[in-house]
């Protein structure tokens, strides 16, 4: 009994020490500021130097939290209990959040620098007139491959992924819409198809791809490709940019049949506590120099037209990352399909996974 009591006291003492230690570090750093700005973003989706710069310029203290999927973000924002001042979801999720009144309508008079944004990225279907969201980054889904590991053959289309010599060598992104989208686009259908027979056909079609798939993974794709664990990956443009940075043999292409075009925009969730700071952050990110620095760090494409002047020439001339008009026409944006059809996509995807 005495032993137990002593141990408990020791534990309480240790945790008190941990608490004191943490606060001491905080104080030494002066990070205990009162005017807090809560930013809810994807992991590693902003240059951390920019956060420091924002803190210095505005005096806000940034609390940076991350999510790993739009749905995880949605769940937290919808349930309340958190006070995120700004979040950066993708287009189909923004559409849904607008429908469900989870985001605050923006006061455009408080926003500076929207004119820097390329008009192609404004006034899109998911948010007409940008009443709720401001563009942050955009990108595509495509094929990254290692030239050295593929002998004398360069994939140009989704169709090429079905080749028998590619057995067990493709890393696929673990997403229902992405994978089914490949089947749909190979057949010439829309990425947003809700036609059951088309979807069935696409799933059948994907059976042929199954033997070529080494694994269905997520963010780790980047690491595996850099380490040459696999020759081909289906991945997002920004991830590919990072891979190419680390491993010079890697090439990124947009498939002939077309692909997915997506946007991540900044929104103010209904639970925001500090709208003032949210507007300050939006304006900060709209600044061309800041946008350019961020794009350079993150690797995705910036919608900020003026920022192009600050980016290295080889970046903006790269057709795979800043595609030409004609290529853009080939790309399709995900629409919010509603819960019922999202469910069907996922059931079919699960079936696809079980084939293995």
């Amino acid at each position: 009994m005495k032993k137990l009591v002593n141990l408990s006291l020791l534990i309480i003492g240790l945790s008190a020490a941990a608490f004191a230690g943490g606060r001491l570090i905080e104080q030494a750093q002066g990070t205990g500021g009162s005017d807090v700005f809560h930013l809810y973003n994807w992991g590693d989706y902003i240059d951390s130097d920019l956060i420091d710069q924002f803190e210095e310029e505005t005096g806000y203290r940034v609390v940076y939290e991350t999510f790993d999927s739009n749905e995880a973000m949605y769940t937290k924002v919808q349930q309340g209990g958190t006070g995120y001042d700004l979040a950066i979801p993708s287009e189909y999720m923004i559409e849904r959040m607008i429908e469900e009144n989870l985001v605050v309508e923006l006061d455009h008079s408080r926003i500076d620098g929207l004119d820097h944004i390329d008009s192609d990225f404004l006034n899109l279907n998911f948010d007409p007139g940008n009443r709720y969201s401001i563009p942050y980054f955009w990108g595509t889904l495509g094929i990254a491959y290692n030239e050295d590991m593929l002998e004398g053959f360069e994939p140009e289309s989704w169709e090429d992924l079905y080749r028998p010599e590619l057995a067990n060598s493709i890393l696929m992104i673990d997403g229902a819409r992405e994978v089914l989208g490949i089947g749909l686009q190979t057949l010439g259908y829309s990425l947003n198809s809700t036609d059951n027979s088309e979807l069935q056909e696409a799933t059948e079609q994907l059976r042929g791809l199954s033997p070529n798939i080494k694994a269905l993974v997520a963010d780790e794709i980047k690491m595996y490709m850099i380490q040459e664990e696999a020759a081909i990956a289906v991945t997002y443009s920004g991830e590919a940019a990072d891979m190419m940075w680390e491993n010079e043999s890697i090439v990124y292409i947009l498939p002939e049949e077309g692909s997915n075009l997506w946007f991540d925009n900044m929104v103010i969730p209904h639970t925001a506590q500090n709208e003032e700071a949210a507007y300050a952050f939006i304006n900060f990110m709209l600044d061309p120099e800041v946008a350019a620095q961020n794009a350079d760090y993150v690797g995705y494409s910036t919608p900020n037209e003026t920022a192009m002047d600050y980016l290295p020439e080889e970046t903006i001339e790269d057709e795979q990352f800043y595609p030409s008009e004609t290529m853009m026409d080939n790309l399709e944006v995900y629409e919010n399909l509603g819960l019922y059809h999202t469910g069907i996509y996922n059931d079919l995807f699960l079936e696809f996974k079980m084939i293995k």
Partner: protein, 269 residues
């Protein structure tokens, strides 16, 4: 007397109410809800008629069973030998300590060890066997899952064996029992309570592993956990996810029933 004891357990009952019964009721409620929020039996029907879900359940079972058997095979002798070492508590702690290293980080270490250019493959290459694809195979999934679960088996088994009164062992030997005989008639039966705790602590969570299935097995192994995660986080079909959660809970009750402590009298008969 009884009242006082009940009073001490009040926080525990409160916990059951708040963190067990309430969430389970929520789950049950959700599992009868369709996507549009109406009352329906469609989730349960889908689950029991879908080949995909049933295969997946079976698969999860097989994997959880294999993981448990592997863990037990490795942990039991280790626990037994540990009780005979000099500083047994210290050595036990030393074997448990790796668990405190973050699981995600350990998984990344395994990725490094098993990858195409990793440690194991360099060794194979050196021995002239050539590099093999090890990552994203079912075998490596089993290895890593077993690795992660070992401490959760080791501890209860160790405690049970350690608890056996030494005089019983000596008595058995004095009566001329061989070492094996002593083990099988004295130590093994007396350590079964620890094995039971261990099996429960390993088998049940193994049914729903999900991080490893993606990181190590590249989604080549799909467990109930993977599917539930999908339903909660991606499809947002909480109804279907809850239904599968309820199925897991029923399986858990079955496992508990099978590994329950039988009354002594019955065992003798």
């Amino acid at each position: 007397m009884v009242k006082q004891r009940k009073l001490l357990s009040v926080p525990y009952y409160l916990w059951i109410l708040l963190f067990v019964i309430f969430p389970v009721l929520l789950l049950l409620f959700q599992s009868f809800r369709g996507l549009d929020g109406s009352f329906t039996l469609v989730n349960i029907q889908t689950y029991f008629t879908s080949r995909v879900y049933l295969t997946m359940t079976l698969q999860s079972f097989i994997y959880a069973f294999l993981i448990t058997v592997l863990t037990l095979t490795i942990s039991y002798p280790a626990a037994y030998f540990l009780t005979r070492t000099k500083n047994k508590q210290l050595w036990l702690l030393v074997l448990i300590l790796p668990t405190w290293m973050n699981i995600l980080l350990k998984t990344y270490a395994f990725i490094g060890i098993l990858s195409q250019t990793g440690m194991v493959n360099q060794l194979l290459d050196f021995m002239g066997l050539g590099a093999q694809p090890l990552l994203f195979t079912r075998i490596s999934f089993l290895i890593v899952a077993t690795y992660i679960e070992i401490p959760f088996m080791l501890l209860p088994v160790f405690n049970a064996i350690d608890d056996i009164n030494d005089s019983m062992v000596y008595a058995s030997r004095d009566l001329g029992a061989s070492e094996w005989k002593t083990f099988s008639t004295v130590i093994l039966p007396l350590s079964l309570s620890g094995v039971r705790s261990g099996v429960q602590a390993v088998f049940i969570p193994s049914l729903s592993l999900f991080m490893l299935t993606r990181l190590i097995a590249g989604n080549r192994v799909i467990t109930l956990g993977t599917a539930i995660e999908q339903h909660f986080l991606v499809t947002q079909n909480w109804g279907m996810g809850s239904t599968m959660g309820i199925v897991l809970i029923i399986i858990m009750f079955a496992v508990m029933y099978l590994t329950r402590k039988r009354k002594r009298g019955v065992a003798v008969r």
